[in-house]
């Protein structure tokens, strides 16, 4: 063991970035002048030197095999001098230095069949998402399945740029919200609806009871003795199914076929362009899990997008559009039901109530 430690390489960090750059980036780093989107998914960046860099963006699945990576590598080797990159939204970008190479690249991508070009400008770009039933232990929904189903339906918006502005969709499979679901134009959020079921016979062995109790934001958990086991009890009236207790204590699973499903939130954004960053707000509290194609979820999202396309002004993000027309009108034009769950009752609730006579009928 000691030897092993001695031989071990640790704390070296990742490779340095510049090793991963194609020549043209090495030459023009920090010296780009401007860019243009030539067609959906195809960008050109022009440097002070006059160099031009053509980028082709392809939709990717994020959850992928080494085979898929190898496919990307091959294309990069053939057209891009052996370099390519992933975007912050899990798309793949191939870069070439001439229009001739660009044409060849585009043909090769088309031939691949699973490398759709798009996601730039006023499009729906790739859905940022999490792991779902493929890996995590707390999901209320799958991730890759709903993403695939939604992107199939919105494919035309990925390969075109006909929206009023950028639309960013994110999915998170539980309230932990790994990603930027809380600030997305449209957010698909996995929600539980049942309090944890408690495994009294094992809880004391598997979990620290005080930490478990402390983990609950609503103080719904109390110590309790059940059948001579030291355990806990959950006050179902106070539980909001956040799953934080389960994170601390595996003896309190939440997952339930009938309970779990999807909430849709809308109108968030991240960039500081025009308006400040915004949180997404609740549009639909619950849609059942419908594997394998999550039809109702897909329909809800296309409904939002269609209302947005027909109602928004150019350059308006979804949140800006809704704030201009008013949330009361948003529920009107989408036909979504406004329920008691839409009314905030958490910490800043009072800041969301309508303290004005200004509203629309």
């Amino acid at each position: 063991m000691a030897e092993m430690v001695a031989n071990r390489i640790t704390d070296i960090g990742p490779p340095k970035y510049d090793e991963m750059w194609p020549e043209i980036i090495k030459n023009n780093y920090g010296k780009w002048l401007h860019h243009e989107i030539l067609e959906p998914g195809v960008l050109v960046h022009v440097a002070e030197s006059g160099d031009k860099l053509y980028t082709v963006r392809c939709g990717a699945t994020r959850l992928m095999t080494t085979h898929m990576v190898e496919d990307y590598c091959k294309i990069a080797d053939e057209f891009c001098g052996g370099y390519f990159r992933f975007t912050t939204r899990n798309n793949v970008e191939f870069m070439v230095t001439s229009t001739e190479k660009l044409e060849g690249l585009k043909k090769a991508l088309a031939a691949a069949g699973n490398m759709p070009i798009g996601g730039t400008g006023h499009s729906v770009t790739n859905i940022v998402h999490t792991q779902g039933w493929v890996h995590c232990h707390t999901p209320a929904i799958d991730a890759s399945g709903p993403v695939k189903s939604v992107m199939d339906a919105l494919f035309d918006y990925f390969t075109s740029m006909k929206l009023p502005a950028q639309v960013r969709i994110a999915l998170a499979c539980c309230l932990n919200m790994c990603g930027a679901v809380h600030c997305s134009d449209i957010a698909i959020l996995g929600v539980h609806r049942k309090p944890p079921v408690i495994e009294h016979s094992h809880l004391d062995k598997m979990c620290e009871i005080p930490t478990t109790i402390a983990s609950c934001p609503t103080a719904a958990i109390k110590p309790s003795k059940v059948d001579d086991f030291k355990s806990v009890a959950v006050n179902a009236d106070r539980c909001m199914y956040c799953g934080n207790c389960y994170t601390m204590c595996p003896a309190m699973p939440l997952a339930d076929a009938d309970g779990d499903g999807i909430a849709i939130m809308v109108g968030g954004k991240v960039s500081n362009s025009k308006c400040m960053p915004k949180f997404s707000k609740l549009a639909i509290p619950y849609i059942p899990n419908e594997p394998p194609r999550w039809e109702s979820t897909v329909k809800a999202i296309t409904t939002i997008l269609e209302a947005y396309v027909s109602g928004a002004k150019r350059y308006e993000r979804i949140g800006e559009w809704i704030e201009r027309i008013g949330w009361e009108r948003f529920f009107d034009v989408t036909g979504f039901e406004f329920t008691k769950r839409h009314i905030d009752d958490y910490r800043f609730a009072a800041t969301t109530w309508r303290t004005s006579t200004q509203f629309k009928w």
Binding site: Y17, M20, E36, P116, G121, H137, C183
Partner: protein, 423 residues
């Protein structure tokens, strides 16, 4: 090995124009990966059950590291032995995710041999996620990775893998060297990343300009966002070309044919109203500009950020668990971000000291600031309050004084008071 389990539900996800992860995984299963065959089987079972089939993660890892690996076990291992263990290894990505295929293949090779061949490219924090390892493979994987010059990212109550936008590599708007900052911080804080010692996780994300293409303001405890202090650079000839329809609006973001209306689309949508367009000349009152990027975004050939560049530092973003989601808040309106980033690192050290001392278990720094007040954090940093830190001043009248600020102090004598004021 090939396909082991019928997957009628998943097969539905092979249809449609968007790339299919099912088709991809089937390919790996067919190429002989039992893990992939069983992953498909277990996922099909989840689709039937509408419930996931992974156990709560166990504690696994590599020697000397407190994180970088997330334990995962199937709760139906008899049915799907190939995924009985399905741990993830978080490999620290190179800043902004450019890859030389040769280098990327190093990882793929290790992973094909020793793991499931499943990946997340990339995880939400930015890591290359190797998805599905058996416990006994963790040390060998780690050894091979490091030998090739790769290391693990963060997990647990530690610094998480920093992430950045592509910045100067391909974007004309980058006001700071996002990749160098990301790399430098990652190297500097290897210990903080690999040996969890804090109340909870801590994330850095670095965007080159206020467009924030890495969503740092929403997803990082410390957001480093490029900005400038001087004037937006204007090329009036290019403005005229936009007005004349010779250059498409917003760099072609709506297609090549779309003409910009400089007055309506740019000047009137400027949130501060600090622009004007008269007699074919675009003017910006830069003193009133809040550097939102809108005008630059719409006319990338005519407008560019200034040249006195640096960053705004914001702190505290996080997802909703527990106190509700937070966006980062301005702590340093402007800082020059120049190698070796000493001033910034001093700020980071003070930040972590304060949080370490005051943060409760599983409390993100944004929550600690909420609980103790922004002022308490600023005091620890030794920063003076400036209006740039708030959207608006307080509307309640509840503020505090220290005894030395008030003449006569707090200790008063009721007898003296009663001499003037009968009971």
């Amino acid at each position: 090995m090939a396909i082991k389990h019928p997957t009628p539900m998943l097969d539905e996800l092979e249809k449609g124009p968007w790339p299919s992860f099912v088709t991809d995984i089937k390919r790996a299963a067919e190429a002989g990966k039992e893990a992939c065959a069983d992953l498909l089987g277990q996922l099909e079972l989840s689709y039937n059950d509408k419930e996931g089939h992974w156990k709560h993660g166990g504690i696994v890892g590599v020697l000397g590291y407190g994180g970088g690996v997330i334990g995962r076990y199937s709760d139906v291992p008899n049915l799907f032995p190939g995924v009985e263990h399905f741990h993830t290894v978080r490999v620290n990505q190179p800043a902004s995710k450019f890859y030389k295929t040769e280098r990327l293949r190093e990882i793929m090779d290790i992973w094909n041999r020793r793991g499931s061949s499943m990946l997340n490219m990339h995880g939400s924090t930015g890591d290359i996620i190797l998805l599905g390892a058996f416990t006994e493979q963790l040390e060998p994987i780690f050894a091979e990775l490091t030998q090739k010059g790769w290391d693990l990212g963060g997990s647990g109550s530690a610094l998480r893998t920093p992430e950045c936008c592509l910045g100067k590599a391909r974007c004309e708007w980058a006001c700071i060297d996002t990749q160098d900052i990301c790399y430098n911080l990652t190297q500097e804080y290897q210990d903080e990343m690999h040996r969890p010692a804090w109340p909870y996780k801590f994330k850095f994300k670095i965007s080159g300009c206020p467009n924030d293409c890495v969503a740092s303001i929403a997803r990082s405890d410390c957001s480093i966002i490029g900005t400038w202090r001087d004037d937006i650079r204007i090329d009036q000839a290019a403005v005229a070309a936009y007005a004349g329809g010779e250059i498409p609006a917003r760099g072609g973001a709506m297609g090549q044919g779309v003409k910009l209306d400089v007055q309506k689309d740019v000047v009137e949508l400027c949130p501060t109203g600090c622009m004007s367009y008269e007699g074919g000349k675009l003017a910006i009152n830069n003193r009133e500009c809040t550097r939102c990027m809108h005008c630059i975004n719409l006319m990338p050939k005519a407008l560019r950020p200034g040249t006195d560049t640096g960053a705004t530092i914001l702190v505290g973003a996080k997802a909703p668990i527990l106190e509700g989601a937070q966006l980062s808040s301005v702590i340093i309106p402007f800082i020059k971000m120049e190698e070796p980033y000493d001033e910034f690192k001093e700020f980071v050290a003070n930040t972590w000291d304060w949080w370490d001392e005051n943060g409760k278990n599983r409390e993100r720094i944004g929550e600690t600031i909420q609980r103790l007040g922004l002022q308490s954090y600023l005091d620890a940093l030794g920063f003076d309050p400036v209006p740039q830190m708030v959207k608006e001043p307080r509307s309640n009248p509840y503020f505090f004084y220290t005894e030395d600020e008030v003449p006569g102090g707090f200790d008063r004598d009721i007898e003296v008071f009663r001499k003037k004021h009968a009971r």
